[in-house]
Amino acid sequence: MPISTTKPIKIGTLYSTTGVTALVERTQLQAIQFAIEEINAAGGVLGREFSLVSLDSASTPANYPGLAERLILEHGVRLIMGCYMSSTRKAVLPIAERHNTLLFYATPYEGFEYSRNVFYAGAAPNQNILPLASYMLSHYGTRVAMVGSDYVCPYESNRIMSELIGEHGGKKVQETYLPLEANLADFNTVAKQLKALNPDFIFSTVVGAGNAHLHRALSDVGLHSTNTPVASHMCNETDIASIGVHLAEGLITCASYFQSLGNAENQKVVAGYQARFGRHENTNVCWEAAYFQTHLIAKAIAISGSEDPTLLAQSLPGTYFDAPQGRVKIDEQNNHTYLLPRIGRCNSVGQFDVVASSSELVRADPFVVAHTAPLWTRAKHARIEGQEKRVGQ
């Protein structure tokens, strides 16, 4: 066999193994490692193995352009998986476009982006914030307090929440943003204000290490999920483990994947992953997106017969995969992914119980300004047929 066909297919990763968002990013990196081991164990793609080049981006947006160029220029990588906060993706996007490299982004984000060089496996707002906002407003009340980290995603999330509150005739009693590095004392101040305001629920867009501070502070002032639940689409099983299950129980989220999903595919993948990385390792929605996106890349390479970015950018749209959440599919027009949103409530062991679910895949609509709440999130319509169109395959 000629050497050129046995060269490994290189995947570069830009995930933070240190810094404020390292906890979840580490699970994404491991998900990719795990998927690559699965692919290689099955004989690779086109008779070639996948190999991984991982650089630590240390949760610092300014690191990303240089690291992306190093992956491309020093390591010959043309397929990059990674980025977590939107600022880091925005930093890599021009590099990817300049060098005709593809970036695979596996984290929910605030929408309003398309690049022919970027593929988005995480939810757009219509696949997580919208159902969560609608579910909370119709099940818990319409006096809402918002607390978030000070960067782009929380602002757009709160814009959507604010509009839905308006439609429900409700009231936004607080909207506050804290720096990513905010400490417990900062959160204590906010928690005292929230206690006095007594909202029907708290919409949190706090990310990373701040989550533990927020829930500690809320507990200290006597705000508990039984009377004032916290809703956050930016909080998953890995965040819960860092918060502490006793503080996070009752938290409500919307995601297309939970570790607790009972289907056979998820049970199999989680068991294999924990056998490989340790039985206490949690999986989460970002982990799953990174996992299935690696498999989608492998499938698309098999279809196009090459890992050339131009050819892959043509073969990826429309490609589907039976992921742990169920079948997912890359949109033909916007490079985002059809996902299956579910509302989950954190239980006493730090896992999510599904309390409502879309019955069908939901198309990502990253450029929608005025959202329409899906029927399945409303109190009286919960668990009935969704209004989204069914996709093929």
Binding site: P65, S86, E97, F112, Y151, V152, Y155, E156
Partner: protein, 200 residues
């Protein structure tokens, strides 16, 4: 398309421009600075705060991104504010709303490319000048309109008090103005004032 036979002065003036780049020092800022150097503009990069705009600033390139939404620049929205070109990162409803509030004529999208900046500057300067001229024209038009109303009222007063027709009344006022070396508006104003005094 109209084929231009003259190069507009906004294009010729580009090398005389003093540009302020109010933008974090990142790749976009480097791209903008490099292109302004190629175009031959004078520029300075300032970030993040700018209480007072350097005097003689002709154009401001202003970063509009989520973290700038809460920033307050006291020199914005004044009659003397120079034209602005927003440099937009995160093209979402919040940033687009902020751009609309800036009254801009053109925008630059991130990631910034060298192409497009020259056109954006030319459109902005030309539209800004046109808007200024339109504003001045409106002020003059408003003045003229109030003068016409004043002369009309004075003419009516002269017609009634002297029993003459409208052209004769106007002629009498004009010869008064010439004799006193004043404008016809000030004669008209005196007549209206005198009439108000006499008819209390």
């Amino acid at each position: 398309m109209i084929k231009p036979d003259i190069t507009l002065s906004v294009l010729k003036d580009i090398r005389e421009l003093s540009v302020v780049i109010l933008h974090p020092q990142d790749q976009d800022c480097e791209e903008i600075s490099a292109q302004l150097r190629r175009l031959g503009c004078n520029y300075q990069v300032i970030w993040p705060t700018l209480e007072i705009l350097p005097s003689g600033t002709d154009l401001v390139l202003l970063a509009v991104r989520p973290e700038t939404l809460s920033m307050k620049y006291p020199w914005l929205g004044q009659p003397s504010t120079p034209p602005l070109i927003p440099v937009v990162t995160f093209e979402n409803p919040l940033t687009v709303t902020a751009v609309l509030q800036l009254d801009a004529f053109a925008t630059i999208a991130s990631p910034v490319r060298s192409a497009g900046l020259l056109t954006a500057i030319a459109v902005t300067l030309s539209q800004h000048r046109a808007k200024r001229m339109l504003e001045r024209y409106l002020v003059r038009l408003e003045q003229k309109h109030s003068h016409v109303q004043l002369i009309e009222r004075a003419t009516q007063i002269v017609m009634a008090s002297r029993g003459v027709d409208q052209p004769s009344a106007y002629k009498m006022m004009r010869s008064q103005a010439m004799a006193k070396r004043e404008s016809i508006e000030s004669i008209a104003r005196e007549i209206v004032k005198a009439n108000e005094v006499l008819t209390f």
